[in-house]
Amino acid sequence: MKQKGWKELVEGSVILEGGSAVKFKTGSWRAFRPVWKEENCIHCLFCWVYCPDMAVKVKDGKRAEFDYDYCKGCGICELECPGKKGKKAIVMVEEGK
């Protein structure tokens, strides 16, 4: 992508549109990747509530896959996940492994 020159900028670095954060894919920041284990999921949606971004998807009221374009790998979902019978439905796995 061609970068803007100094004459093409909006005064005061104001962003003149809403929701533009969607264009900024932050998933590349991730060092650890959360992996969803569907068999241990009770669909409590705690992960969806606690995710500081919007990286947990919900479909028809049920927990769906992660959106890895925006998941920064903070691990809050794993921490909050109650799992089933002592087994977590989200585990963090080191990227590249």
């Binding site: 900028l9 005064e11 005061g12 104001v14 962003i15 003149l16 549109e17 809403g18």
Partner: protein
């Protein structure tokens, strides 16, 4: 019809603000500014203006409130002095970086330590690099006139920058002078309706202020900020022309006093320029070609114009009521930079005077002009920077 009154500098500026009636003022008291915004708060209480006045807990907060209100889409003003301006420091950069036309009278006062409440330019000079436009004022009349013009300059659609209007603490802020007020309707008409650029409260067009801009674009934004500053001079002159039509009072980028054929000249800001002009007159009556240059627009600094105005002089002294310890005075550094580009330039010296409100007397100007006269006649410069009226 102008109304002639006897008022203090603070009262005159408060009255200018009343005539303009900004939408929001985030304010916090500090000597010697306190009585300016206290008067303004009375206008609010008495229903003379419909400003939303926000009383905050510090100057950091007052500037923050102003930034929020300005980004929301209001006409915004505040005022401060000294430590208050220093406490605003990080927010000053945000106001200018976000291109928010906040107008702020700065009643110049010394900085601590040691604690001192009197007139000196250390506060304003410390804010030199914050990206604010700075207008400096010799007396109450100029402070009043500059405040009115500041709104037109800062809010100009090609500019959109915050503006400081500097006036000397106590010497001007608390002294009663003869001042000509403009009619309320004239001022209202002169500043015009406030126009928005990117108001946050325009809910149909959502937007964000203050994004994270890293190595990919920050350098470009700062280059653009310099560019807009370079447009300010023309706007200042255009606004001054309109102001002269209305008031009969003429303003420029700086004032040249008996400078045209001068051999020796003082460059001096604010109230002390008034004292010095009398002494320049005395030297003229003795047949010595003395002159004076009083800067008005300090940021952006009119380098070329000032070099042009001083190029035929033989010796110039830049007088600073602020210091850069281990360096020259801040005004000296600018004038020196301006003159360096000339092929033939006058001898240049720097005197630090009047720190912490120390009286600046006609005899001090006389000493300096005598020294300049000797330098103009071939005497060697004994020291580039010296302190005047300092006890050994």
């Amino acid at each position: 019809m102008a109304k002639v009154v006897a008022v203090t500098g603070n009262e005159a500026v408060a009255n200018a603000l009343r005539q303009i009636n900004p939408d929001v003022c985030g304010v916090y008291p500090i000597t010697p500014q306190t009585d300016m915004m206290q008067r303004y708060a009375s206008y609010v209480s008495n229903g003379q203006v419909d400003t939303e006045i926000i009383l905050v807990e510090s100057e950091h907060s007052s500037m923050s409130a102003c930034i929020g209100a300005s980004a929301a889409g209001g006409r915004v003003a505040t005022a401060t002095s000294s430590q208050g301006l220093a406490l605003m420091w990080e927010m000053l950069h945000i106001a200018s970086g976000d291109r928010l036309p906040i107008i702020m009278p700065v009643v110049n006062r010394a900085l601590s330590a040691p604690l001192n409440i009197h007139g000196d330019h250390s506060d304003g000079m410390g804010a030199r690099d914050t990206g604010w436009v700075q207008l400096w004022s010799e007396n109450g009349q100029e402070a009043y006139d500059n405040t009115i013009q500041a709104f037109r300059i800062g809010e100009h659609m090609d500019i959109r920058l915050p503006v400081m209007v500097c006036l000397d603490g106590f010497i001007i802020s608390h002294s009663i002078e003869r001042i000509e007020y403009l009619e309320d309707a004239e001022v209202k008409d002169f500043v015009g309706e406030f126009r928005n650029l990117y108001p946050l409260l325009d809910l149909d067009k959502p937007k964000s202020y203050g994004p994270l801009i890293l190595t990919d674009l920050y350098h470009e934004y700062k280059r653009a900020q310099h560019e807009v500053m370079m447009k300010v001079k023309d706007v200042v002159l255009e606004v001054a022309k309109d102001f002269e039509k209305m008031s009969g009072r003429k303003y420029g980028l700086f004032e040249s006093y008996r400078l045209e054929d001068a051999d020796i000249a003082l460059v001096i800001l604010n109230s002390a320029a008034g004292t010095s002009k009398d002494v320049v007159d005395e030297f003229r009556s003795k047949g010595i070609k003395a002159g004076l240059l009083k800067p008005r627009l300090f940021r952006p600094f009119p380098y070329e114009e000032m070099a042009e105005a001083l190029k035929n002089t033989k010796a110039v002294c830049v007088m600073d009521r602020a210091d850069s310890f281990g360096g020259y005075g801040p005004l000296f550094m600018e004038v020196s930079s301006a003159l360096y580009q000339l092929k033939e330039k006058p001898a240049l010296i720097n005197k630090i005077y009047g720190l912490g409100g120390r009286d600046y007397l006609p005899s001090h100007a006389e000493l300096v002009l005598n020294e300049l006269n000797e330098i103009a006649h071939g005497e060697k410069i004994r020291a580039v920077k010296e302190y005047i009226a300092v006890r050994e």
